[in-house]
């Protein structure tokens, strides 16, 4: 018999708000823009059964099934970013050049199991 953990809507896998302020990491001297950005992160459980809203992969569904048979030996699937978007950054380098750089996968848009 499967062992069910009670899962409330608040602790299921989903993006959580994380604002990175470059001042907090002491980078304001060389980053021109942006001053910070909404990076977000994924956190939460991937409970059995995986609903569509949890964006479960086939692998996650199988792992969930195995976890239900053997909760100690096999962990629940992880909650991970499945869709990320880029940001652009303007900064000064060591030669005082102004650089615009495009970085992929910097903002978590969606999470999944």
């Amino acid at each position: 018999a499967a062992y069910y953990l009670p899962v409330t809507p608040s602790n299921v896998c989903k993006p959580r708000r994380l604002y990175i302020d470059f001042k907090d990491v002491g980078w304001q001297d060389w980053i021109i823009a942006p001053q910070g950005y909404l990076a977000n992160y994924c956190h939460g459980e991937c409970p059995f059964p995986l609903s569509e809203s949890l964006n479960g992969t086939n692998h996650a569904i199988l792992q969930t099934l195995v976890h239900s048979f053997d909760p100690k030996g096999t962990p629940q699937p992880c909650c991970v970013p499945i869709k990320l978007s880029p940001i652009s950054m303007l900064y000064y380098d060591n030669n005082d050049n102004v650089v615009l750089r495009h970085y992929e996968d910097m903002v978590v848009d969606e999470c999944g199991c």
Partner: protein, 232 residues
């Protein structure tokens, strides 16, 4: 934390936190590109690894500062002219980066309408080797561009230097360039393409416009800019 920061900066293409000595003004084009990039989302159809303003692939745009200086007499043997050494440090590009574009921009501070009955020529040379102090530069350089600018002309000149800038990336191969501005009388240019030697020209050298130069470099780091593949 320091180690984590170092690893993160390394993945961003930086060896450590940059320490700029002064905060140079941000060129308007970079602001424009930044604002455009900020609006793009992962669902956007435009390829974020293409700089459409220049029509080339790239995820990094740099405005590289000119580190050259004015060349003073006796190295200058031209009459009524100003000669400047241009040097752009291309070693700021990482080895992994693929150079897509290097464009020189020469901008004049003043409006060229102040030239009156004069034009001035802009000659751009590639420096082939270093020369000893006091030796003329003529034999150690190669002409890249010669252009006349008169009243009403655009106050900026753009030159594509991509191939040359690629050679500058090799250690010890970057001797920079020379730019020479020479004031000429318009009537003489039209008649005989020669400048007049008249006493007024000594005063007119003060009218030589101030020149600002920068090199716009677009490059692609293939590790940070994967090509977009549509799922079948």
């Amino acid at each position: 934390v320091n180690m984590q920061e170092k690893l993160f900066l390394s993945s961003m293409g930086l060896s450590s936190r940059p320490k700029p000595s002064h905060q140079a003004p941000v060129p308007s084009l970079l602001w424009k590109l930044f604002k455009k990039g900020s609006k793009q989302t992962s669902t956007s159809d435009t390829d974020p690894c293409v700089v459409s303003e220049y029509g080339v692939r790239g995820n990094i745009v740099r405005f590289i500062q000119d580190q050259g200086s004015l060349i003073s007499a006796p190295a200058v043997h031209c009459f009524n002219c100003v000669r400047k050494h241009l040097f752009f440090n291309m070693s700021v590009l990482e080895d992994v980066e693929q150079l897509s574009l290097a464009q020189l921009e020469m901008k004049f501070k003043q409006d060229l309408a102040h030239l009156g009955p004069h034009v001035f020529s802009v000659d751009l040379y590639r420096v082939l080797r270093t020369t000893l102090k006091g030796v003329t530069h003529e034999s150690s350089r190669k002409l890249l561009l010669s252009q006349s600018l008169g009243p009403g002309a655009h106050a900026s000149v753009h030159v594509n230097l991509t191939d040359l800038a690629e050679t500058w990336r090799k250690p010890g191969k970057n001797y920079g360039m020379h730019v020479e501005l020479q004031l000429k009388h318009l009537s003489n240019v039209l008649q005989e393409h020669a400048y007049v030697k008249n006493p007024h020209l000594a005063v007119q050298i003060a009218q030589m416009p101030d020149l600002y130069t920068s090199l716009v470099v677009v490059s692609l780091n293939p590790l940070q800019c994967r090509s977009r593949r549509k799922r079948s």
